[in-house]
């Protein structure tokens, strides 16, 4: 059974999600990858306003392919998250409650998630054609010069993710693998 969540994702809601939960997200989420995160964190360091409202936000680590005519967006699956490890604690401290990506996270990111109440969701990597069906609208809101890496505001409907790491630090990469190996 999947849990349906409408964004924004509050800290209280984030704290209720558990590692292994299947979630369907509906509402607004933002995209950002390496280059956009670098700029966002520079703005935070300078005390300047961000081009997105970080409070209760979900950031999807993705650089989509260009939309064909008539499409909202091209293929749009997750990129590997550890490259954002240097930046995610800053964004979580700014109020971000959710991240969508794939792959391992650093102890520093997990510590920030526990401290502030945030979750790390996984989307299926390499399934960009399938996932883009759940993205109904996409609009570049900052850093157009970065092309695929620009920050986009996405409107999603029942976007399927799974909670990999919850706000208590439980990690599906560890528990899922251990559970499978215990059957061997």
């Amino acid at each position: 059974m999947s849990i349906s969540i409408k964004t924004p994702l509050t800290r209280e809601q984030a704290r209720q999600l558990k590692s292994g939960d299947s979630v369907l997200l509906t509402g607004v989420i933002y995209t950002a990858r390496d280059a956009a995160h670098k700029r966002l964190c520079e703005l935070v360091a300078q005390g300047k306003e961000l081009p997105l409202d970080a409070k209760d936000s979900i950031i999807y680590f993705v650089g989509p392919t260009p939309a064909k005519p008539g499409q909202a967006i091209g293929s749009a699956g997750p990129t590997t998250s550890y490259r954002m490890d240097a930046y995610s604690p800053t964004m979580i401290a700014q109020g971000q409650t959710g991240m969508i990506g794939k792959g391992k996270r650093s102890p520093e990111v997990i510590a920030a998630m526990k401290e502030h109440g945030a979750v790390y969701f996984g989307a299926i990597g390499g399934c960009g054609a399938l996932l883009s069906k759940c993205i109904k609208k996409a609009e570049v809101i900052a850093y157009d010069d970065l092309g695929a890496e620009a920050i986009r505001r996405l409107e999603v409907e029942d976007f399927p993710v799974i909670v990999i790491i919850d706000s208590e630090g439980n990690n599906l990469y560890e528990t899922g693998r251990a559970a499978y190996l215990a059957t061997k």
Partner: protein
């Protein structure tokens, strides 16, 4: 001497960029479907089902299978009796430029590794040439995503490390990669040669059909053994646990120096893309 116009090469490369990114090769599909049938872990099976659904959508709509449409790796095998009319390298780059624009593919190349300004057209391609007897021109386009490329490693083992060292290193690279490269993966291994040759062989190994084993029985057996060992790690599809960590292990080897045992492991995700055309 057989004449081939550079324009023909541009057209072929353009089409191969689009086709490789949208249509997964049949041998890779077969391996994924076999793995789906053999996978005992329910969550792993569900993920493999989504992966199959994804490439079917990509097939139907001619959409990129993955948003990382890669850096275009182009392998050119030129017959000695072929004469190219025009600039071969520029013809290939132009094919990539056109293919990535016309196919709505992502432009993922930066002009300098440190200033990181996007070139905007996915050029330059990474081109490798091989010259052989004959009058044919064979071109393979392999878009390489970097989620998996970043998980690749190289090591200069000692001759005394031997077969066990080779096995341990392959398993170490897959273990270190864990969920990051979008398992199930294809593992390309290069053993022997020099530092650079080992890495090149590892990449070439990824081009081999999933149905084809190494022609020498010793190495074919090692490929089968390593696939079993990798799939005993339990990483599973997407790293959430399961049997299907890898679809195949392909090893290439060549002679090396008396003092060395170079080994490189190049990882590819389940979206293992390549397209070949002979002109």
């Amino acid at each position: 001497m057989r004449e081939i116009a550079a324009q023909k090469i541009t057209e072929a490369v353009r089409q191969m960029c689009i086709d490789a990114n949208c249509f997964l090769p049949q041998d890779v599909k077969n391996r994924i479907e076999e793995s789906y049938n053999m996978e005992p872990w329910p969550q792993a099976k569900e993920i493999l089902e989504r992966i199959i659904e994804n490439y079917k959508i990509a097939d139907e709509k001619a959409s990129p299978i993955c948003q990382d449409t890669g850096v275009a790796c182009v392998f050119v095998t030129i017959g000695q009796e072929v004469h190219i009319q025009g600039d071969l390298a520029e013809a290939i780059h132009e094919g990539v430029r056109q293919g990535y624009a016309d196919g709505y593919l992502r432009k993922s190349v930066v002009r300098d590794p440190l200033d990181r300004v996007n070139t905007g057209d996915n050029t330059p391609a990474m081109i490798y040439y091989d010259i052989v007897p004959g009058d044919k021109l064979e071109i393979t386009v392999a878009p390489k995503g970097f989620g998996s490329e970043n998980m690749s490693q190289i090591k200069m083992l000692k001759p005394s490390d031997g077969l066990q060292g080779v096995k341990d290193f392959i398993l170490k690279v897959v273990e270190d990669a864990g969920p990051n490269p979008c398992p199930p993966i294809v593992v390309g291994v290069g053993v022997g040669g020099t530092f650079d040759k080992a890495a090149f062989m590892a990449k070439k190994a990824l081009m081999r059909s999933a149905d084809e084993r190494h022609p020498e029985p010793f190495w074919a057996d090692l490929e089968k053994e390593m696939l079993e060992k990798v799939n005993e790690l339990g990483i599973g599809p997407q790293g959430f646990g399961g049997k299907t960590t890898a679809l195949c292990v392909n090893i290439e080897k060549c002679p090396t120096h008396i003092a060395g045992l170079p080994i490189a492991v190049n990882i590819n995700c389940h979206v293992t893309r390549h397209k070949t055309e002979v002109l």
